[in-house]
């Protein structure tokens, strides 16, 4: 029997390794491409051994890419903080108070997610032009916050529903105001949910492409990383080395953030599947 168990053990480990490798191929491809010379990149047969160069990264440093990455960081994180903050407060209200037409309101909030965002890109473009919000940080932050809010409200409501009401009642009786009770009692216990919601919101805002492309000017001041990578055209078509280098650097901040909150994330994605 032990041999059989060993066999299945190795088989499962091998399968996991295989799947992970398959998933990591694009990442590998990006990393090696970013380290290759242009001629190696466009070689008809992929070169596995090549001369390493950092010229692609140097080109990036010379371009506006890092200021655009900074835009991504500012817009992504600000909209995430806003969406999670407002979402948590409204989820708390939905969870704890009697609200007239609560179900309808919640459905309405969710329904904003039912339309593919691309459908509204033209109306929003026109609105933003009139409001002079095009190519501004504020405009994109507002948009991403709005998109993420419905998601944040629904997810956070689930988490807050799980926190027993007695905790706040006790705090109220002990001399705290409702808001103090929220800060001191509800928030610490909702931290897992907040982290999970924040990861999802950040990834959505971070990766958003269509609006970022349409609502900013080429080379404008609020361009985020995703449209900037696409616009990395050289004189002879796409400069794939620069694209790969930009993409790799683009992955790093969100990977670090996800790594930092990974424990909460696991609980977040399995939310509802596991009952305490």
């Amino acid at each position: 029997m032990p041999t059989r168990r060993n066999f299945s053990y190795y088989l499962s480990r091998f399968s996991i390794l295989l799947v992970v490798l398959i998933y990591l191929i694009p990442i590998y491809w990006i990393i090696v491409t970013s380290l290759k010379y242009g001629s190696d990149i466009s070689a008809p047969f992929p070169k596995f051994f090549f001369k390493i160069t950092f010229e692609n990264y140097q080109k990036l440093f010379a371009s506006k890419y890092f200021s655009q990455l900074l835009n991504s960081i500012i817009i992504g994180f600000t909209s995430t903080i806003l969406a999670v903050g407002i979402g948590t407060l409204s989820a708390y209200a939905f969870s704890r108070f009697k609200i007239a037409g609560e179900d309808d309101l919640l459905f309405f909030i969710l329904s904003t997610r039912m339309l593919p965002p691309i459908v509204v890109v033209i109306p929003i473009y026109l609105m933003y032009t009139v409001l002079k919000l095009r190519d501004t940080h504020f405009g994109l932050i507002l948009l991403y916050t709005t998109f993420n809010l419905s998601f944040a409200v629904w997810l956070m409501k689930g988490f807050i529903d799980e926190i027993p009401k007695e905790y706040e009642d006790a705090a109220l009786v002990d001399g705290y105001t409702r808001f103090q009770a929220f800060i001191k009692v509800v928030l610490p216990q909702a931290s897992t949910g907040i982290a999970a919601t924040a990861v999802f919101c950040l990834i959505t805002a971070w990766n958003e492409f269509a609006f970022a492309l349409v609502l900013t000017e080429v080379g404008g001041k609020a361009v985020t990383a995703p449209p900037s990578i696409v616009s990395a055209t050289g004189k002879t078509g796409y400069d794939w080395g620069k694209v790969a280098a930009g993409t790799f650097i683009f992955l790093v901040p969100v990977a670090i953030f996800t790594f930092l909150v990974r424990k909460h994330l696991l609980r977040g994605v399995t939310f509802g599947a596991i009952k305490k």
Partner: protein, 367 residues
């Protein structure tokens, strides 16, 4: 410390009436128990007193000061909940200090008060643990400590020990009652367990469907239940209740139980009911005596089952079938040295009983 007065308070949830026109007066330093089944309105009463629920009607006073419009924070009460007593993200010390923080006491005073109470409850060694590392009894102790550090005007306890096992519950009963007497803080204690009510209360109020059925000392509600609801609730086992027809012959008053079975009733009791044809008869199990032979004023019954509990034996006797062919049984409490066996024919003597109105279920007190 304060006396608490509720004046015809009414509370509805949507269309359901949780409390209707409830009047209650709790004296200063009293240990007052609210007893009732689930959904009787006990917890709602506590939550109204704490200010966690808004009243639909009526007023609440502490020492004649109106409380009705005050928010929970200004009422100076401490609430001990049934579950979720401690904040899981704080240590036992922080949990106990939690009610003191909004009072802006100096840090050293907070520490001193928590230490004092912890010493009193013998939980000093637990102070740095998180709630997850505490057992059920320890959690309850810390929860009690949390209520005590504040020295509130009123303690409100909502089934604080019903999640504990039986042995621990008995320990905590004694502990809570003793602490309450020591601190002299007016306490309202909610429970569905009549043993808790009987063993701890100075006075007890029995609630049913948002109405008070009876208020009195444990002995009063046991010996003189105001209605058949209280009679059927208090005592373990509770009173035997059955309808019976009254008749008079040869100057004696008889209660006709089922069929031809009739029993002579103590005259002082029966006189009150003679004006009515039919009454509810309530008999405490200890007021039924089992004789192995026929004696005066006994009825013949059969032993259906018995539980030898050690200090006493509870015997179920079978009286026969009623008009609807249901078996009619009564519970008797007999001394442990008296032997019975299942199926045995015995003679039952009734020593005392209460009677209640057939229609209203209220105790009949005078003619």
């Amino acid at each position: 410390m304060a006396s608490v007065r509720l004046e015809s308070i009414t509370k509805c949830f949507d269309d359901k009436v949780a409390l209707s026109q409830l009047d209650l007066e709790i004296e200063d330093q009293e240990f007052f128990v609210l007893l009732g089944h689930t959904g009787a309105g006990k917890t709602t009463t506590l939550r109204c007193i704490a200010g966690l629920e808004k009243l639909d009607q009526g007023d609440i006073y502490f020492d004649n000061q109106p409380m009705t419009e005050l928010d929970p924070a200004s009422r100076d009460v401490a609430f001990v909940f049934q579950s979720h007593i401690l904040y899981p993200h704080l240590t036992a010390f922080e949990n106990m200090a939690f009610p003191l923080w909004p009072r802006k006491l100096p840090e050293i005073e907070v520490k001193r008060r928590v230490q004092d109470v912890a010493e009193m409850l013998h939980i000093e060694h637990l102070l740095w643990r998180k709630p997850a590392q505490l057992s059920g009894g320890e959690t309850q102790r810390v929860g009690l400590g949390r209520a005590m550090v504040r020295r509130p005007r009123v303690f409100l306890m909502d089934e604080p020990i019903s999640n504990l096992d039986a042995k621990l519950r008995a320990e905590m009963r004694t502990e809570i009652k003793w602490r309450q007497k020591q601190l002299g803080i007016t306490t309202l204690y909610v429970t569905h367990d009549q043993i808790e009510a009987m063993s701890m209360a100075d006075r007890v109020a029995i609630l049913d469907q948002g109405k008070i059925m009876q208020i009195g000392t444990p002995i009063e509600v046991y010996n003189q239940p105001a209605n058949i609801f209280v009679a059927g609730f208090i005592g373990n086992p509770s009173m035997n209740l059955m309808t019976c027809r009254l008749s008079e012959s040869n100057g004696e008053i008889y209660g006709q139980l089922i069929g031809h079975l009739q029993v002579a009733l103590p005259e002082t009791i029966a006189r009150k009911g003679i004006a009515r044809e039919e009454v509810w008869l309530g008999i405490h199990p200890e007021n039924l005596v089992i004789h192995p032979q026929e004696e005066d004023n006994t009825i013949v019954v059969e032993v259906h089952n018995y539980e030898a509990l050690g200090a006493e034996t509870i015997v179920d006797v079978n009286l026969g079938l009623d008009e609807t062919d249901q078996r009619v049984t009564m519970k008797c409490r007999i001394p442990p040295d008296q032997q019975v066996r299942v199926g045995q024919t015995v003679w039952l003597e009734l020593q005392a009983c209460s009677i209640f109105d057939r229609d209203t279920g209220q105790a009949i007190k005078s003619v």
